[in-house]
Assembly symmetry: C2
């Protein structure tokens, strides 16, 4: 422990709350030395802690309300004392280093915007998601925080993503690509054509390398892929769905017939390892960038493992000063901007 404030973990958010959330918190504390406070209904959380003989081991901060998984942005206005709102409040007061929630993405984004506010100069927040490329992940943003954007907003997203890649992934001058529908500058829709011009004008403060397409998401050709929250969310879910589809088709193929079934048995462990590597839970979740505080959004279906990974990621981001670095980049972008 280095005296840094704990992670404020939303104990009530997610399909498997509070059981898996609390289990993930226990592992974060015990196995990774990450300090955590659990935000939620004290009685429910205490009971879940008792399962791990951890009553009293992890502090609880009371929040009697929660935002349900099927609730969206409006719920965050209606419930100012929700667990996610209280977690944001702890960060705002300096009593926590970062927020982690597996709750509804729309609810977390809306509450984060309302309680933590956008950083100075930031037009709109963005969700950054690490894609499972090698040797290091590719950062896709925005994965769904802001559906309708201006070209200028995409330039800011590029700075947010670059700041994230620099701090979280330790990359120098990360290569930034604009997601669109053709390699040439003049390809795309109105939004991306104008954004391309603005991004090109932001070189060298941004290492903008040009347009990328849908098939570039997983080939590691750039370090940061910039897009609006509508397109990014569709691309991300399409990618997840296609990988799942390929595995299902493949399992059926591998296991039909006697010889093939035997072969599949021989490979089972390797297939499980691969599947694990492509599992969104392992890489710890998405990060909401552009607010006055670090917010990690774990997958809604997260089990304990995913929650622990999200807590570790949040603590790393807090330690590395990602929020401050985003602020520096945005300020520098303003100084150099030509729009």
């Amino acid at each position: 422990m280095d005296g840094i404030p704990p992670i404020a973990l939303d104990a009530m958010g997610g399909d498997n709350a509070p059981g898996e959330i609390v289990a993930g918190a226990v592992a974060a504390v015990r196995d990774h030395g990450v300090p955590v406070v659990l935000v939620g209904s004290p009685r429910t959380v205490s009971e879940a802690l008792a399962v791990h003989d951890a009553a009293g081991e992890i502090p609880i901060v009371r929040a009697e309300e929660a935002i349900a998984m099927d609730e969206g942005a409006l719920a965050s206005l209606r419930r100012p004392r929700s667990s996610i709102a209280v977690a944001c409040h702890l960060v705002r007061r300096g009593d926590a280093s970062a927020v982690v929630s597996a709750g509804s993405t729309a609810g977390v984004v809306a509450t984060g915007k309302l309680r933590l506010r956008a950083q100075q100069g930031v037009l709109r927040p963005a969700i950054a998601v690490p894609l499972p490329t090698r040797p290091h992940p590719t950062v896709l943003l925005d994965a769904g925080a802001t559906a309708d954007v201006k070209p200028e907003t995409l330039v800011q997203f590029a700075h947010l993503g670059a700041a994230y890649a620099e701090t979280a992934l330790g990359l120098a001058a990360p290569r930034v690509g604009l997601l669109t529908i053709g390699g040439e500058a003049e390809k795309g829709n109105k939004l991306t054509k104008r954004a391309h011009e603005l991004l090109a004008a932001a070189v060298p403060s941004l290492n903008f390398t040009g347009n990328v397409e849908g098939h570039d998401l997983l080939n590691g050709v750039v370090d940061v892929i910039v897009t609006d929250g509508f397109t990014g969310n569709i691309a991300l879910k399409t990618m997840e769905g296609a990988v799942r589809y390929a595995f299902t088709e493949l399992r059926e193929t591998l296991e039909s017939g006697h010889v093939a079934r035997l072969a599949a048995a021989l490979q089972r462990r390797r297939l499980r390892d691969l599947r694990k590597r492509l599992d969104p839970e392992v890489y710890g979740g998405a990060v909401l960038l552009g607010l006055n505080g670090t917010v990690v959004i774990a997958h809604g279906a997260s089990t304990a493992k995913g929650v622990t990974a999200a807590c570790v990621l949040a603590m790393n981001l807090a330690r590395q000063g990602t929020v401050a670095h985003v602020g520096e980049r945005i300020a520098a972008g303003h100084k150099h901007r030509r729009w």
Copy 2:
């Protein structure tokens, strides 16, 4: 043969033109009884036909120019005698039933719009692509013809896609979904929120079943997925890239280590079969809908097999009267429209 005019096949378009194109034409004629005329440079095409002892077997229509694979919409204006322009002209005059090209998508779309013109009442054309779902394909449109659209255009795309599913797939009342970023009507960006209202108002002339998301592309939950050409192109390429990625990762996994390599060998043929089923070449290509003539766009990298499949698809669409059926749906949509 039923006296129907032949397919006008662009012999000069595609990465493997003219060799594979001509080989595909020969197979279409000989193996499938689909009449074809080859449009291109007579000398080059004759030489390619001679390889198959097919000189004189397939008519050639002269076109001395071609649109290169890296050229876009402007080239179609600059080269009014390109092979694809001449092929469109044949359809316009009634001397061909449909156009097939493996040329640059942007070039084919621009030339098709210019030479065949939009059908009466059609705001913008759309590219329909069959996705490899079971028991029958799901139609995604627009896959890239029109990047910037109005909500009204998406309603028309729904009619184009429904007409295609009814004729090409033989579906009654195909289920239509709107691609967006959340199941509820109020989720999405400005474009899809308004389009959702208009689509809901078009029931029952459209069997609109609501929003779908990126992970629904391959799960067969609807028969037609409607989106703008920007989003559709990114989703399609993301899907193709993710499937390819999953296979590559899988091959590495399956073939690392002695036992696993042995197992992989036992499964090789099955894996090849699966890969073939997911291969865009097998299902024959994309269809440009909304013009006064059937236009099939084969994959740019098509080999003979893909070209043959595209010719068979084009002939089926022509025989089934897809263009006329699209016209009826658009006319009916206008009668019922509330915008």
